[in-house]
Point group: C2
Chain length 512, copies 2
Amino acid sequence: MNGADALITTLADNGVTACFANPGTSEMQFVAALDREPRMRPVLCLFEGVATGAADGYARMTGKPACTLLHLGPGYANGAANLHNARRAFSPVVNIIGDHATYHRGFDAPLSSDIAALSAPNSVWVKSAETADSVGPLAAEAVTASQEAPGGVACLILPADSAWNETTVAGPVLAASPRRAPDLTEVEALAARLKAARKPVLLLGGAACGEDGLAAAARIAAAGVRVLTDTFVARMARGAGRFAPDRMHYFAEMALGDLEGVDLMVLVETTRPVAFFAYPDRPSVLVPEGCELVALGGRTADGPATLRALADAMGAPAEGTVQSLEQPVAPQGPLTPAAIGQTVARHLPAHAIVSDDAVTCGLPIFLATQTAAPHDWLMLTGGAIGQGIPLAIGAGVACPDRKVVALSGDGAAMFTVQGLWTIAREQLDVTVVVFANHAYRILDIEMYRTSGGPAGPAARGLLDLGAPRIDWMNLARSLGLPAARADTAQAFDEAFERAMARTGPAFIEAAL
Amino acid sequence: MNGADALITTLADNGVTACFANPGTSEMQFVAALDREPRMRPVLCLFEGVATGAADGYARMTGKPACTLLHLGPGYANGAANLHNARRAFSPVVNIIGDHATYHRGFDAPLSSDIAALSAPNSVWVKSAETADSVGPLAAEAVTASQEAPGGVACLILPADSAWNETTVAGPVLAASPRRAPDLTEVEALAARLKAARKPVLLLGGAACGEDGLAAAARIAAAGVRVLTDTFVARMARGAGRFAPDRMHYFAEMALGDLEGVDLMVLVETTRPVAFFAYPDRPSVLVPEGCELVALGGRTADGPATLRALADAMGAPAEGTVQSLEQPVAPQGPLTPAAIGQTVARHLPAHAIVSDDAVTCGLPIFLATQTAAPHDWLMLTGGAIGQGIPLAIGAGVACPDRKVVALSGDGAAMFTVQGLWTIAREQLDVTVVVFANHAYRILDIEMYRTSGGPAGPAARGLLDLGAPRIDWMNLARSLGLPAARADTAQAFDEAFERAMARTGPAFIEAAL
């Protein structure tokens, strides 16, 4: 076997069985070796940001890494924005970054760059396999590093000669260390403080927002503690049968208004909440004055176990209140985000996965689906828009028996529009909805908040996407997707119902 | 004025008058300030790789930087692949990278990242304006740094509070130091060695491939020295009335075969030629054994002046041989790269600009256009495909009175397909031709060269773009461009002739 064989075998032995790839010359050995390892599923992406976002989505749904295959420094760079999001989601991802042959590096050929330096800021682990014998062992190390709690991005740089040279060394099967179990003394003490507090809140992030974590959090809520989640979490269990915590507000003044009087904030799998952006004369930290902050276990804690222990220590009821199924009636009239929310809530099938990159259209749909059939909601953790379609690809590959719905702003969707082709190619059960309001609508709001004045013509020209208007339906069709356009609430409801009723790719332009 | 006003005024004072932008919240002050500085032309790009590639194209055509406006670390990262190409083209580019307010940075908000570390590998200069008073002076420094010979990428990080705070400090107008004049003693000595050499060659890069440089090189060729250019140069003057040097072969074995027996290689504005990639058992350096290498002045030299001095020192004729205009007849039969070359050579208008990201289709068209009307040819200097459309945008903004033709492979075009929208929005005089062969064709060749075997089904799945086939004509129409599809040589000839005859955007799918 050559180094590429050692790599793919080691990855598969360690449970990495999906590869989101955009290869080039230096990755040809890896590509050829795929035919010798049937456990690895290659998925071609026509832009690396699609590949890295898909790996993030895959990780969120499986808890284990997929790998990407990227072409030297520029290939990595194209994938870096969605790796920023993955870093903020604490998703395990293993990037295989092809490089020049070791002996070719010194010649500064056109594609040469400092890959280690480029990839360091978004990574928990970066190493280069300088020999074929080192490839397997480093691959095992990369997988483990990506899964080390709370999870992160590992980059294995693969020089072409390390891939094509022969080796007899495959990597070992390694186990990631488990998440930290709750410290019962600490939990007992905190339970007493929560009971003593005047207005305590519990703030959840990470896996604490999954089904098990929320079930335990519901018990704590039943014991009188208000429960919130971070504004953006990697994955949240929602809908009928699940506890519905509040969500931290996006804008600082709204968050602080909402939290007024809170004297104790307990953090589980998250850190002190802060504003997404700073604004002139607005606060950065979303913690009321005088409120005490207590981090229970930190990011590497086993959030669900910690919450269960806390509920027990508080003597909370065995079960908390969960949502019942309430599906709204069919919406009528003009197509608005609220109407779309009604439709999604009506037709979302049980166990669907929603990838939310909907920006200004997202919140009404999020709120409306609280009582929909049980589902998972994936959010934009790092603020780099262009994540919605790629995440949906990864979720679709990870969970072929679940319906995936990508909700994307039109501005956001353009960043990684190439992903539509991969959905068609892989015939994933993904429905993409693009909200065509033909503007960076969020920036209209932000312009007002940051500069205190209306935009002049030059400024408006940088916020408006309406000249020319993108024909989203035909754009999706040109990339191989069956597509519809809806410009009334009723038309959207019908199109979305059709997409939910069948299996396979679909695209809907929501013409707002 | 606030810091953003100081920035834009200083940029404009220093000759930076085009801004390729994809803004976000932290850049709203800059956006608002554009309405107070009419000298700056804002151009909205729906993906940052379009913005950075456009700035590169603008720089290649004007010799001066445009600025980009990018949204924190992820915005920079999305633009980094085309900045890699710009770095390899030695193009002056000034990136304005918005950041969180200085006091907000410590809170590690979702969009926080180490922007300086991310941007360092592709930059000659990176600084952050920590106060409003520092913005103007640093902006002037950034412009100068980008223009310091041989030219490069400067990044000015702009925290939101440095943009919104008031200041009275605008930056100075600075001059970049001139390129190095030839050392006449060195030139005289080299002229003697060239005359004494058995089989000397002159290898040109950078500005030595412009009109003046080639005119001087033609004289040296007339004195018996073979002249070549680098395989990829940022910009080359070509066609009728220009000297046509040879081009260094892409593959090492072909280059070395071509150079057999060469005993002296003189480098002007370039460095030792090396293979683009390493392959098993093939050489990395494109210099025959026993050949002496002499760098005349290095990358920072004034190449045209150096070549003139060398021609004079050799006693070369006052003028060399230039191409005469020879336009081929209309091609017939199936649509092939050779037929497309005939068409482009026939119809390319005088002073057109060609942006070449055509990968496997490029060489036949390059060769066919040697005798076309005079034009400039922009090449893929860094190997990161997805440059063709963005470069054309920058060239179109820089040279509104010249026809721009972007030639792009379909795989390459997908990386920055969002650029089609900007061409439509700005109504640029750009014709985009996409070669729809529905494959990463170059990788078929590379697979053979690197692994020595045919691709199996899994490998073929990563090289083939044919399932589904992208409908390029309708993709372009959906983004606002008038578009045609041609699947015969005659149909392509007619469509290209029509596009050349009118002014404004056009798109042709070359269905190969």
